[in-house]
Symmetry: C2
Subunit: 495 residues, 2 copies
Amino acid sequence: MSTHPLDPIFHPRTVALFGVPSKSEAWGAQFHRALVDSGYDKSRMFLINPKADEIDGLPCYHSLTEVPDTVDHVISLVPARVVPELVDQCVAKGVRSLHLFTAGLAETGDPEMAKVERDAIAKLRAAGIRTIGPNCLGLYVPASGMTFSGEFPMESGNVMLISQSGANAGEIVRSLTPRGVRFSKAVSFGNGADLKAHDFFDYAAADPDTEVVVSYLEGVSHGRELFEALKRCAAVKPTIILKGGLSGAGARAASSHTGSLAGSRAVFEAACRQSGAIRVDSMEELQDLTVAIATSARTVGGRRVLLFGGPGGFAVLSSDIIAGQELELPETPAKAKQELREFIPVAGTSVNNPIDANARDREQMQKMFHILCDSGAYDVVFSTSLGSDQGGGPGRGRGRRGPTDEAETRPTPEELEAEHERVREGARILANLQGEIGIPILYVQRGGFGDGANRQASAAYAAGIGTFPSVARAAHTVRQLIEWRARREGLQTIF
Amino acid sequence: MSTHPLDPIFHPRTVALFGVPSKSEAWGAQFHRALVDSGYDKSRMFLINPKADEIDGLPCYHSLTEVPDTVDHVISLVPARVVPELVDQCVAKGVRSLHLFTAGLAETGDPEMAKVERDAIAKLRAAGIRTIGPNCLGLYVPASGMTFSGEFPMESGNVMLISQSGANAGEIVRSLTPRGVRFSKAVSFGNGADLKAHDFFDYAAADPDTEVVVSYLEGVSHGRELFEALKRCAAVKPTIILKGGLSGAGARAASSHTGSLAGSRAVFEAACRQSGAIRVDSMEELQDLTVAIATSARTVGGRRVLLFGGPGGFAVLSSDIIAGQELELPETPAKAKQELREFIPVAGTSVNNPIDANARDREQMQKMFHILCDSGAYDVVFSTSLGSDQGGGPGRGRGRRGPTDEAETRPTPEELEAEHERVREGARILANLQGEIGIPILYVQRGGFGDGANRQASAAYAAGIGTFPSVARAAHTVRQLIEWRARREGLQTIF
């Protein structure tokens, strides 16, 4: 646990949901359902609704002050006009923190609603209560059982997510979870009326549970504070930033969304460069860099790629893609080619990088990796095989499922567990191999979506190997890492 | 049916698999399994293996000449050294066409194997037998039951695929099938020792079952013929081309793969420009342009996009992406804004393009589309809703499944069919709406992979609406269509 003053906000002992709707399909009802679905201890969760005595089988209090326990954290689900009443109750109850899911305040552009927001924050601050929001999804902290979606995993990880937008926070968690990433905590802070991006960067820098920081920002209302906090954070931890609203159309949308002034692209790029943060331009880049930074991929030391895995047409297009990212695909050294040809048949294969040859078994795969990489010709390997399968040509129909497989028989739990273990074993073998050859391996999935692909990615991640959904994204990520490292020259080394 | 001389090759009455291995996991065994799995009439399929009397319950002949019926098409699964013997049997039997899956010939770079290939083709041609290959996967023709993968759908469509690489042909079919696309036929022709790209383009131009032509090429061994055939084909049908081997590394891989000389980028680009073909640079572009050309998206008449569907953070990033593709996101006209605000609440929404407001029901969605589009401010709509669902905010947990849902109860066939019908109904409503507003709608899926997403895409496609996996890909596709149409000025209009 951190001794940072914001730390208690992430670890409330008790939570009250203020204005929880009695109909489960209503907007706002998802919060208590998410907590219940995720196993939150119901004795530490209090529902507040002036008109209900019970919702979904849980007792309901008519006001915050009726709750027969201390309340650490309040989630507000009420409309904007009820906020003054909510604030009074929070002050009277002496809560520690408030998350305003409530929207319709400053971001509407209405001066009257902006004043409601300002007055509320002033009153809360005076009472020592910190606020997340308004207009956001708040906290996801697996270690303390806090979540805003019943779909998020409740295992903790080492990545902290700081996002103004709740939707984008959700998308980041949902897209990184199947790739193996787990979070120390995530916060969506919306309008940032009280707690702002710079507060969370300072917290992340100090948080012992966080090793990688990833963020989505729209506004830069306190530019100087943000830049200073970013410098402090990026000096000690890899810090990835995606900034929305950098185009004219995007800035207009950001203003409607979180009432943010988006700021100029040039200033933002300079802030990232000077702080050593990793600037990304899209959700895909954000996801890929997070995976890369959290796995062996971050150690990539040069541009010379070995692509291990065919088939032929894929190898041709992949070569074009890798060249397009200004990476190199050095030919297999003559001696290595000769050694490979001793056991790789000629027909339908290539022993010249990219390697298009299915290994017969794991021993042969290990042998191939050693022959190729011990030559010193390569800095990084892109492998389309996880070690648990040897690829397989198109049409071979092994392991790949059709577009709709609902009619298929489902495997038994035992078969499924045996399959999981086979995948985990393959990932461990590849990780060992990586240790032996001394250069990072990136696992590239070919057209893989669905449970099987997700299991492979999770197993690879657990073994320290990052998984990428295409050669294009693996190559682009390696290029970004190399360019970022070059830009960081002169700053402190963080890995 | 076409009267083109190559047409019979696509419609064999009988097929022999020459050298079919007796072990079902062996390389080559996938062909008869694919045919059997796809319901090919076993009485028209003959297995040839000199050492077996029966394989997988099917009778096996020791040579082609033993087959007690005429043989139209032969699929060769034998090693390269057996090719001369195979050729003699084909000539003796008087077959019509041969598909050489067999690899290890000219593409190895070995002059002796190149001679085997040359001599075989000369002998076959002299006997009036046309050859597909060697070193390829051959034919996929749903109407005649031909396939090289048991996973491909056996419904016919209007897209013909011409691919040198079998792996890439497989990837194209597998990636486009869940998006609704169906094929009139696909051919993978590998080294192209006899039948070449230009032969297939000429066939496609004449084929009444083909309305859209899509191709993956590596080599340009007969550049002039290819260019002339491309001109003839692109003059009458939209013709999409992806060319592998345009980088140095890619050209090297192409040479190992299909023994192809890849040719220069400049010459290839000029050939596409002059012929009016649609040049694409990646598999993703190829897939997206195929979907666009086969749906209403191809009618897009300008750069002014209406993005319909939040939530806020998604709208902000999408705006940046759309601007990055040099498209416009015109503000909602003042009158339309006012009309929308009459029934869209202020909190948590935006009625300014991008529209971030969930419609209450279909009637409201139709009303919103009319208010927005009847203003004349837009050329194209990107909708994140298919009409069958109204989106739903993050964390609402409606319809979106977690990363692993194996433990969930499976819906009954009746529930599934009701869900399918709901999706189809939504797609039809959106298509009707499209007819009313008079501009194309592109359906953009947010993070959707899996059976549910595929059902939506197929239903949309059936209603004439293209589905795209992200705003980035929809926007890039629209930009490419507009730029291609500008480049085609002066050529015949094909749609």
